[in-house]
């Protein structure tokens, strides 16, 4: 017991910004959901969660304030399953109480995993949810547990991969233009509105391939065009820019479940281009080809490790660091209009497929964010937004509806939110 208490870890490179910049409106909490084919049994889910938590020690850590930096400290807190009773992606970290940085809840047939970005990114959290669902179904139906294609209880699991792959690459600081920003009245109590569309993946892939584009590039163009069309003429003077987190595990081998991503920025200037879908997609494809390159990606996350290595930055007391990082975050927020993150394909062993209806992912943010994941023959697109207005979502989903008539919309917005 004593040994457990004394284990601690520095925050990884990408996580350093999150505690300082988390607010009630921007909680840095994201949610993965798995919809099963029958209502959840809370007792079995709790049992599955206890086992899963053991396999992912980093999820048992709590966030503490040091004198100079935040750090993660091992705790012996036990996660408990509860029926969903809090707003979507509500804050998980409170500075004065020691709580786990993730939560598992259920509603009907859906299991939700909410994670504070400090301990993990989408890839790590998805491993956790897949393991949880596998253990739950194997407890419920006696299905055999299978290897999910990554090493658990592996020493590399809690690695800071940024440190491992950081190297000096001379590069000019990127100069980003200020992006067009969405405005409008917000939902009450800093709530996050979610509108989610599920459709078959094949028509979407066919449409992307028809334009010789990847799925992410095609969806970026869809979102850019939807935002551009809905913007006022005045707002369109600035380019619409998407922030697209790139999973660095695809470029640098890593088994870490902690953060390992860096954003790239993809923009389109509606005041210059003709605003046609083809032109937007061409610009997006060009940017992707330029940015998705090992050296350029390394240079991006190097600017973060450089901050960490700067001695003045290191010995600045935490309250001052909080202020500096918070204003840096506010400034960087002006560089993009919305976020698009594609978590990719969710794999489950063959025997489990008939018991699972869908996987979904969404993120709390003070901006509009489109989160994408696909499972089996379907793809789930979740648009979260703090704004009341749903015109961009309407345009986006009507466009996708033209590709697949079976598109299904779900939302957490209530009638009186409108």
């Amino acid at each position: 017991m004593k040994q457990v208490k004394n284990r601690w870890k520095k925050l990884d490179n990408a996580a350093k910004i999150f505690p300082s910049s988390s607010t009630l409106a921007d909680t840095h909490v994201f949610r993965f959901s798995c919809e099963l084919n029958s209502p959840v049994n809370p007792k079995l889910l709790q049992q599955a969660l206890d086992e899963t938590a053991k396999a992912f020690p980093i999820f048992g850590y709590v966030l503490r304030r040091g004198v100079f930096w935040y750090y993660l400290e091992a705790s012996n807190l036990k996660p408990t399953v509860s029926q969903e009773h809090k707003p979507l992606c509500a804050p998980l970290y409170r500075p004065t109480t020691r709580t786990l940085l993730y939560e598992v809840s259920y509603f009907g047939a859906t299991v939700n995993l909410e994670v504070y970005h400090v301990i993990s990114d989408g890839t790590g959290a998805m491993h956790f949810l897949r393991t949880l669902i596998m253990k739950y179904l194997s407890l419920r139906d006696g299905l055999p547990e299978e290897n999910l294609g990554y090493e658990t209880a592996h020493s590399g699991m809690a690695d800071d991969s940024f440190r491992r792959y950081s190297r000096r690459i001379p590069m000019k600081r990127r100069h980003l233009p200020r992006a067009a920003l969405l405005r409008g009245s917000k939902l009450s109590e800093n709530r996050t509105g979610l509108i989610r569309g599920t459709l078959r993946i094949s028509p979407l892939l066919a449409a992307a391939h028809e334009h010789n584009a990847t799925l992410t590039a095609y969806l970026s163009a869809c979102l850019l065009s939807a935002i551009g069309e809905e913007m006022s003429v005045r707002a369109r003077k600035r380019p619409v820019i998407l922030n697209i987190p790139v999973n660095l595990r695809n470029y640098f081998p890593s088994d870490s479940v902690r953060n390992f991503f860096t954003p790239i920025y993809v923009g389109y200037d509606f005041s210059r281009g003709d605003g046609s879908f083809a032109d937007i997609l061409a610009t997006v494809k060009e940017t992707f080809a330029r940015e998705l390159d090992r050296d350029r990606l390394t240079a991006h996350f190097n600017s973060l490790t450089a901050f960490e290595d700067n001695i003045i930055a290191r010995i600045t007391p935490l309250p001052i660091k909080d202020l500096v990082l918070r204003s840096a975050y506010t400034l960087s927020n002006k560089e993009y209009t919305a976020t698009l993150s594609n978590v990719g394909i969710v794999q489950m062993p063959q025997a489990y497929l008939p018991h699972i209806r869908a996987f979904h992912v969404c993120n709390a943010t003070n901006k509009m964010q489109l989160c994408v994941c696909s499972f089996g023959e379907h793809i789930s697109l979740s648009v979260t937004s703090p704004y009341l207005d749903t015109n961009i979502q309407r345009r986006l989903f009507r466009h996708l509806h033209e590709l697949d008539r079976s598109l299904l919309i779900e939302t957490n917005l209530l009638d009186d939110d409108a």
């Binding site: 017991m1 004593k2 208490k5 004394n6 601690w8 520095k10 503490r64 040091g66 004198v67 100079f68 930096w69 750090y71 400290e73 012996n76 029926q83 969903e84 009773h85 809090k86 707003p87 979507l88 509500a90 004065t96 109480t97 020691r98 509603f107 009907g108 859906t110 109590e189 709530r191 979610l194 509108i195 290191r314 010995i315 749903t390 979502q393 309407r394 989903f397 009507r398 509806h401 008539r405 079976s406 598109l407 299904l408 919309i409 779900e410 939302t411 957490n412 917005l413 209530l414 009638d415 409108a418």
Partner: protein, 218 residues
């Protein structure tokens, strides 16, 4: 499953209207998300009322004091009292899940506030003679007992005892500066604190070292 005729899209929801275009939906209702109640609980409302009440009390007493200056200057007592009340209340609530840290913060504020009260009431020295040494001593003993009885992990309370013991050495300054009228409590407090510090360093040295290492890592 519901259906929106305007968008032509299927919507799985318990809503009456389409989330995309606000026109009426037709079909069978199905809840995918729970209805979440307002975050602002009755407690928040209670604290708001309490805050309005204290603010009103403070403003009214300042006004009354100014109206009847012949009664002497007394409204600053009300102001200091209100501030003390709120600081102690907020500390207690914020730290309610971390008992050792809550006690440490309360001790700190009690020492500060007793000094202030003593100073504004013609300085009889009761704060440094009695309140500060008693509070510090009581806290060191309470923390030690709570830690053992509740079986808290050492990382949760050893640091608090150490910080409290360091605070408990400060009466030595008052003693050396000859400010004390009553030396017994202060010297006992210093003695208890020093013993606690030595015992902690010898018995929990490793714990304190790792504690310091993580708190001060650069």
């Amino acid at each position: 499953m519901k259906h929106c005729d305007t968008c032509g899209i299927q919507v799985r929801t318990s809503r009456q209207t389409c989330p995309l275009c606000q026109s009426a939906l037709k079909g069978e209702s199905e809840a995918v998300f729970p209805k979440i109640k307002s975050l602002y609980s009755q407690y928040t409302f209670f604290f708001k009322l309490l805050f309005i009440a204290t603010a009103a009390g403070v403003i009214a007493s300042v006004a009354v004091n100014l109206m009847i200056p012949q009664s002497g200057l007394w409204c600053h007592f009300v102001v200091i009292g209100a501030v003390c009340f709120w600081v102690l209340l907020i500390t207690a609530i914020r730290r309610r899940t971390n008992i050792p840290r809550g006690i440490l913060n309360q001790v700190f504020w009690i020492c500060i506030f007793s000094g202030i009260w003593d100073a504004v009431t013609l300085w009889h020295g009761w704060s440094i003679d009695f309140v500060i040494p008693c509070t510090c001593m009581a806290a060191i003993i309470t923390l030690g007992v709570i830690g053992k009885v509740l079986r808290l992990p050492p990382g949760d309370y050893i640091g608090c005892i150490l910080a409290d013991a360091l605070l408990g050495v400060t009466p030595l300054i008052f003693y050396l500066a000859n400010l004390l009228h009553f030396i017994y409590l202060s010297l006992s407090c210093v003695a208890v604190s020093l013993i606690a510090i030595i015992a902690l360093l010898i018995l929990e040295g490793d714990q304190i070292r790792t504690d310091l290492a993580r708190r001060f890592h650069v």
